[in-house]
């Protein structure tokens, strides 16, 4: 196992740094990999350059093996989780953080990978360079990375994951020559390469079109803190004083970062030292960006859409620097390792596995639109055996989501799941459940939780039609419609929405209302009532769940060519007349021929944009507009009995 990799000078790295000498030594006779948590895979090594302790890393990293790696005049605190025989994933934290920012992600990854975290120099339990000025250059940070990588994974390249400044420095690692062959893949979040950033600015300065100017000014405004950090002494004073004390509260209030072992007590020191990251690198790199900053490993870019510090436009030209770029977007704020750990774990796992398996025929990304957003997410659609529900399931499947197709019609649901797998869903299941049955829904939710995970997007779509005048509608008819159209949605939102909220990592709920929710009609009293209720329920729920990062959208389709017409009940008429009307309605909807696929596209768009109410089809948009500006005209329309 010991490769005995050259101890000699390695590709001329600067700084006269001390090498961690015991690197890779004696791995062979160590205990077998995976000998339980805290198993020492690397026995005590060379004289004073590395040392190892157990479980000593902060509260967030329980069970981590800890060691110290000395390099370039500093001592880095490195924590390891998981079986060292597995592929190594190295997590690099940002500013003003320490490695504990990754605690949730590391825990999620530890079952499948050898997870390594380290405190960047000057942060957490790592020591700071003396003097501080000039001690935080990207070259020195690269030395640190190589030392840690050599210590924890001497003979295999590591998979890098960086957040914020961790990503900025990882970009440097992934683009300089001397790390070539040491990095298997790189997942970047919220941290652009300073060189790419420099070119981005230059391009916009040299040819300032209005759009480019706006992009430049936008990012310029988001970078306000960077200017402040360049002032001498003041940032240190603030961090060691009032700002350090109030920072956890600020994170909680503004960034919605949940509590739990983060930020750590070392925050004031981390933040004060980290200011030198900016002072040592920003001006130099932005003024003279390297021209050869091409990534030499596959890169996955995760972009939080609500990042207050970085514009999404920064990554527009990234394909030019990282050819095999995989893009992901996440509706979240800056601190995704704290707020969306499950999603990160899933994407990192998928990306790393794809690279480890090295199957070139297997695409990491699905082909459909919004695959960057829904790839690997769990989507549950009710009423998925036909019509809009089925089309929605297919659209999510094309975007690479995992699908749970729920319907009363077991065969149809299974068929939907089957076809969903064909067009890109990594996994899909059909579940035969009546949404009106609360106990069955509870059971389904338990099963989903246990077997598939927490639902990321819930589409409450199941619905039935009922036509006929109010006076001819029996209470039994009313009950049936309300049971499915309203109670089905209520059960879905309550049962799955609660689990979504409890997880606390965002999500989205889509409820299928109808244009009938704002267009009154003499022939659809029960149906319209149920749909209007769904619309208002969605609006209220949206207000309630907004604070937890869960969006709620109501989709209001007009006349869409689905089999709802053929299965609708027509009250107050004999059976054969009902049949005739169903056929006639089906034909009329067929002539209108608005495909459910377009509604499905609107559903995905509504989730991506977090829209509140989305009328689909021109008649629905018209009705919505009229309901606001010409309600009397709508009321007049309501009196017309459509010819059936």
């Amino acid at each position: 196992m010991n490769t005995g990799r050259g101890q000699g000078p390695r590709r001329g790295r600067g700084g006269g740094r001390l090498r961690a000498t015991g690197r890779g030594k004696g791995r062979g006779p160590g205990p077998s990999p995976g000998a339980g948590p805290g198993a020492r895979s690397v026995p005590g090594t060379g004289p004073g350059t590395e040392s190892e302790t157990e479980g000593g890393s902060g509260p967030g990293l329980a069970g981590a093996r800890e060691r110290r790696v000395r390099t370039g005049g500093v001592e880095l605190c490195v924590a390891e989780l998981g079986d060292p025989a597995l592929p190594t994933v190295m997590l690099v934290h940002g500013y003003p953080d320490s490695k504990e920012v990754w605690s949730e992600v590391a825990r999620g990854l530890a079952a499948r990978f050898h997870v390594v975290l380290y405190d960047v120099r000057g942060c957490g339990l790592s020591t700071a360079p003396r003097p501080l000025r000039g001690g935080f250059t990207l070259e020195k940070l690269t030395d640190d990375f190589l030392a840690v990588a050599d210590a924890v994974s001497p003979d295999r390249p590591v998979h890098l994951v960086g957040h914020d400044w961790g990503s900025v420095q990882s970009w440097e690692f992934a683009t300089v020559r001397r790390t070539e062959g040491r990095i298997a893949s790189f997942t970047s979040m919220s941290g652009p390469s300073l060189d790419h950033f420099g070119h981005w600015i230059k391009k916009r300065m040299t040819r300032p079109t209005p759009r480019r100017t706006a992009q430049l000014l936008g990012q310029g405004a988001k970078s306000w803190y960077v200017y402040l950090l360049h002032t001498p002494v003041l940032p240190e004073l603030a961090w060691r004083g009032p700002l350090g004390r109030s920072w956890p509260g600020i994170l909680r209030r503004i960034e919605k970062v949940p509590d739990g072992g983060y930020p750590t007590a070392s925050l004031p020191g981390d933040a004060a030292h980290g200011a030198w990251l900016y002072r040592d690198n920003i001006r130099a790199r932005l003024r003279r960006p390297r021209a050869d900053a091409y990534a030499h490993c596959p890169v996955q870019l995760i972009t939080p859409t609500g990042d207050a510090f970085l514009s999404q436009r920064l990554y527009d030209d990234l394909e030019q620097w990282a050819p095999q770029l995989v893009r992901r977007t996440l509706p979240a704020k800056h601190w995704v390792p704290r707020t969306r750990p499950d999603q990160l774990v899933s994407w990192i796992t998928e990306f790393v596995n794809a690279k480890e398996e090295g199957d070139p025929a297997k695409e990491v990304m699905a082909a459909g639109p919004h695959a960057d957003r829904f790839g690997g997410q769990l989507v549950l659609v009710t009423g998925a055996a036909s019509g809009i529900g089925r089309a929605t399931a297919f659209a999510f499947a094309e975007a690479g989501a995992r699908i749970i197709a729920v319907d009363r019609d077991a065969e149809g649901a299974a068929r939907t799941a089957d076809m969903a797998r064909l067009i890109g869903a990594p996994q899909a299941w059909g579940e035969a459940v009546d949404v009106a049955d609360e106990a069955a829904m509870e059971k389904l939710a338990d099963k989903v939780d246990a077997a598939y995970g927490t639902v990321d997007v819930l589409v409450n779509n199941a619905g039935i039609g009922l036509s006929g005048s109010f006076l001819q509608t029996s209470s039994e008819d009313w009950r049936k419609v309300l049971d499915v159209n309203l109670w089905g949605v209520i059960h879905g939102c309550r049962i799955f929405g609660r689990r979504m909220a409890e997880r606390g990592q965002g999500g989205h709920i889509v409820n299928t209302a109808s244009a009938a929710a704002f267009q009154p009609s003499r022939v659809l009293p029960a149906y319209s009532t149920s749909k209007a209720a769904v619309l208002m329920l969605s609006e209220c729920l949206r207000a309630e769940l907004a604070g937890q990062g869960i969006g709620v959208s109501a989709i209001c389709p007009g006349l869409v060519n689905t089999n709802i017409t053929a299965t609708s009940r027509f009250t107050g008429v004999p059976a054969d007349e009902e049949k005739r009307r169903q056929a006639k309605a089906a034909r009329m909807y067929g002539m209108r021929n608005y495909p459910p696929e377009k509604v499905a596209d609107a559903v995905l768009r509504a989730v991506v944009r977090n829209q509140a109410v989305v009328p689909v089809t021109p008649e629905a948009r018209g009705a919505r507009l009229m309901s606001r500006f010409a309600p009397r005209a709508l009321r007049a329309l309501a009196r017309i009995e459509p010819p059936l």
Partner: protein, 288 residues
């Protein structure tokens, strides 16, 4: 065998011989489709594929057409965003690996007409395989319901319902008049056989005359979802073309269904030929 169609002007004589003629030209057309499909490579355009079909058949004596050969590649097999009939004509869309394609041709040979559709794909495409496999149910459904003498409109709606249940869109609705089938007939051989918008004038004339007769007697040579198709199957030869579409992938078959006025259900309707590529494919799948 009962008479195929009293309304067919030229096809009444020797029925068996007549059917043999139709069978031969249908086989010829399918042979052409398989030959051309075998030559398709990445980069070949729809126009080139259509030309290959035309030339292949011309070399074998085809001089007249019910319609000139069509070729659709990629999402054009599902008629995505088709609004005007001109979009059916072959374009410069180039074939890529994994792309589905459809070859559709209707040659007239020795006065007999065929109209066939051949679906395939270049390389692996599981979605396309599934579509092709699911077409079998439609072939069975159509034959069964024609034998039961349901109205054509009803059968059309039942086929559509089956498609929806399978999760597909009905794409034959995009054809002119939304037809799932149309009548074909013998055509008089002329020295000059011009085409109009891709359709042979002789065949159009036959169709128009059928339409006129049918209009008087309450039937139509077009099998559509509209009221004019609300009649039991009319004896004659129908080129039936159910066309499935699924998210940018389309598949169809097209072949001749013989309808007679026989009282025997087996004789009242049957597929002209059961030895066709798509049928063989289903049999092989079952055997496997």
């Amino acid at each position: 065998m009962a008479s195929v169609t009293p309304a067919t002007p030229a096809g009444t004589g020797d029925l068996a011989a007549g059917l043999r003629g139709f069978k031969e030209v249908q086989r010829l057309a399918y042979a052409c489709a398989e030959a051309v499909a075998g030559q398709l490579r990445p980069g070949i355009t729809e126009r080139a594929a259509a030309r290959m079909q035309r030339e292949w058949l011309r070399e074998r004596g085809v001089r007249d057409w019910f319609h000139l050969p069509f070729a659709w590649f990629g999402d054009r097999t599902a008629f995505v965003n088709f609004r005007v009939p001109l979009q059916f004509f072959p374009t410069n869309r180039a074939l890529e690996p994994g792309m589905p394609f459809i070859l559709d041709m209707a040659p007239v040979h020795k006065g007999y007409t065929a109209d066939i559709g051949y679906s395939g794909c270049l390389g692996l495409n599981p979605v396309h395989d599934r579509l092709l496999a699911d077409l079998e149910a439609h072939r069975e459904l159509i034959l069964r319901e024609v034998r039961e003498r349901h109205s054509l409109r009803e059968i059309y709606e039942n086929v559509e319902r089956l498609m929806v249940r399978q999760g597909y869109a009905n794409r034959h609705r995009a054809y002119p008049f939304g037809v799932i089938a149309h009548k074909v007939d013998r055509v008089r051989e002329r020295r000059w056989s011009p085409t109009l918008f891709g359709f042979g004038t002789q065949s159009l004339k036959g169709l128009a005359s059928d339409a006129l007769h049918g209009h008087r007697d309450g039937w139509s040579p077009l099998w559509s979802p509209y009221t004019f198709s609300d009649h039991p199957p009319q004896p004659g030869l129908w080129a039936v073309e159910p066309h499935l579409g699924f998210r940018g992938t389309g598949a169809k078959f097209e072949e001749i269904l013989v309808v007679t006025d026989s009282k025997d259900p087996q004789e009242s309707a049957f597929w002209l030929d059961d030895d066709l590529p798509h049928v063989r494919r289903w049999q092989e799948e079952k055997a496997a």
